[in-house]
Assembly symmetry: C2
Homo-oligomer: 426 residues x 2
């Protein structure tokens, strides 16, 4: 993606008196991000590149303030600077962010005291209490359904798709993902399902329509629930799918199956056992369940910029961390699949559509908003490509669940073909 | 399985003077194991069953000593008592053990101070130091290849098989398992593999013969290594497979792939990060790997009897525990599969063959040995059937691994069919 960006004007009032300071400060940027193959340049032409590395990108900063912000906090300093045009990157933005992520992974710089302080302050302001979650979710998902319609697939599925083949379209891949979830859960007609965090309702409707199950789907985003209910009405599925505007912690009623796709990221790790107890309340020891979430190979936080500007209160756990949800309740993990490359591809489709709608988005939501979201999508592609981010799907079952599939072969054969089932106490 | 067992003779010297004590002690057994549906009986006829439960089994104890040992430690007391014929179980032994496991899971009795003391003492005597591991492994795997030949498949594979269909034979299922491992690892001709804990060498030879890779396979069991080298010679694979009699901690040399099937159970959890560093020494950030091990849904120990009599120093980790091996090194978990029911079926085949060879085993190794091993096999079936035990296969790759499969469909299609591969930094 070629990035267009406001052209620099020399910083008003610059006299050159900072030039010696800047010359001394500029190389310090590499302390925070490692030897990224870039030439770092100030508007007056002063520039530096890490020794022995051929620069593949040029990053220009408009003024000393921008440089100072990047030095204090490379994540927020760069994110905010790029968003409002004080930082320009020549070359492909995704490739640049990949280079930064790879460099930071290798260099593993210790965050400064300032960055740690910022991180703590973000975390404390964004705690996922019942009230906090509602606020956090509102800020991201209630921007307006019209906004998401501009760059998501026609069914508005805002989670990792599953590309049976790399050339599948985004619409095909989102349907394939919903179907994969249903098949991994081996849904049977007449079963009951609770879904925690249902987005715009596409999965709940797919399960009901294509697998004959009854679904209660929860979400605290009022914009999304409104849309989901409307779709259920249009499809005459209101009797089979109930959309409830409430927090997952208030889920009530028993069900055969618990599903959550893309919601664990909005649960505080310290609430994982609480999340597990909600699941246990729903499916007990006899049901089965499914978790789909953005994860990591090692414990860590989303970037401070992402948490501050895009996803308040969000956390992508390592697999080990995520198992804190299931192990206290003795759930059997049946299957874990990592769909990391599928999320990179999903995001490429999103960014492509986003780019095509960028003029419309800028004029409606403002240029800074458009740039912030573009940076978030580009950074997410880079995250999934480099492996900073992973996508895990976990299938689990209660200790007393009634039956188990014998192998996973049925997931990949003709979906009509009956698979071999066995009693779980085999 | 109907269990034959030495018939009771009245305990020499019994006069009946313990009868009031026994009457008082007998019900206490249920405190340790919960309300198992059994009638518990002493040789003199004194018996008790839990109220409101229809007894499906009768368990007879020969004397007060046996009862006292069961009360002090239900695991070792029962195991040792059953082994030397002081305890008889009428009815199917596997079904009885299933009932006990299910009852203990529900009742979750707190182990007595005595049992905890025994547990600690076993653990400290069986620590898996380099020397300790050699001793622990020797005691189980060096009983003699002739013994294992009596009840394993023709290739002597002593780990969970993979039954493509439930009616597959054990030989077919072991070949299918080895092939599943190779396909999950997507082995390519010319690649190098390190195997830690190679048993009698069947997997190493399968990989070399069928996938054209070069293998260095490690094992501290001299009996197994001797057999494996002989097989390599017979198959003219000595140039392609090197069997090394050494501890996994001494593994040297780089490889594309690290495989370990059924060895993690012999690593102390406190050595998991050390095990991870061995893996990292071999495949670095570019290779890929595979772990196959007996696990649990929640953290816990093997029974004290199993640890004392059968598997010194062994531990079956929860998935969360096992990830301590991989997460410190940033390995990406690609795939986890739980083959629990396949291990129950594997063990059924083993026990069936074991039963057929029982006269031979008794006469060669002694009746107590034969009974101890029968109890271990029966108990393992019960463990995998009830879910006390699980079987996990983990596929992982280094953060810089060169390529990834796009989906898992190739694992279930025609193995000749080429699968879609993508660069890992996709």
């Amino acid at each position: 993606m070629q990035v267009s960006s406001p052209s620099f004007t020399n910083h008003a009032g610059r006299t050159g008196k900072f030039s010696r300071l800047e010359k001394w400060l500029l190389p310090l940027v590499f302390r925070g991000v490692g030897p990224v193959p870039m030439r770092l340049q100030l508007a007056d032409g002063e520039s530096v590149a890490p020794p022995g590395v051929a620069p593949r990108f040029t990053v220009r900063m408009r003024d000393l303030r921008t440089l100072a912000e990047v030095l204090l906090d490379p994540e927020i300093g760069f994110g905010d600077g790029w968003t409002d045009g004080r930082i320009q990157v020549t070359g492909d933005l995704v490739a640049y962010l990949e280079a930064v992520y790879e460099s930071m992974e290798r260099a593993a710089p210790t965050p400064s005291w300032y960055a740690r302080l910022v991180s703590k302050s973000i975390a404390s302001r964004q705690a996922n209490t019942l009230e906090g979650s509602r606020k956090n979710i509102h800020s991201h998902y209630d921007i307006g359904n019209e906004f998401y319609r501009l760059w998501l697939d026609s069914q508005m599925v805002y989670t990792c798709a599953y590309f049976v083949s790399q050339t599948a379209t985004l619409e095909e891949a989102q349907i394939a993902k919903m179907d994969l979830v249903c098949r991994k859960l081996r849904l049977q007609p007449g079963e009951t399902v609770v879904e925690a965090g249902c987005g715009w309702g596409a999965l709940a409707l797919h399960m009901a329509r294509n697998y004959g199950v009854r679904v209660r789907a929860f979400n605290v985003s009022s914009e999304q629930i409104r849309h989901a209910r409307e779709r259920a009405r249009q499809e005459n599925l209101s009797g089979q799918v109930e959309f409830v505007e409430d927090d997952y912690r208030n889920v009530s009623g028993a069900a055969d199956v618990f599903v959550s796709v893309g919601m664990l990221e909005h649960v505080d790790p310290k609430n994982y056992a609480g999340f597990g107890s909600v699941i246990h309340r729903v499916i007990g020891d006899r049901g089965r369940g499914f978790l789909h979430f953005i994860g990591r190979s090692q414990q860590g936080d989303f970037s401070r910029w992402i948490r501050k500007r895009i996803f308040p209160g969000a956390h992508a756990p390592s697999l080990r961390e995520a198992l804190q949800v299931l192990e206290p309740f003795g759930y059997f993990v049946q299957d874990v699949e990592n769909l990391r490359p599928h999320y990179a591809k999903t995001l490429e489709h999103w960014l492509d559509r986003f780019d095509k709608a960028s003029a419309q988005i800028s004029s409606r939501y403002g240029a800074e908003f458009e740039r912030a979201w573009r940076l978030y999508l580009a950074g997410s592609i880079a995250g999934f490509r480099t492996g900073t981010l992973q996508l895990f799907q976990i299938v689990f079952s209660g200790a007393k669940s009634a039956s188990l599939p014998w192998t996973r072969a049925d997931l990949y054969g003709d979906p009509q073909e009956s698979s071999e089932w066995i009693p779980a106490t085999y």
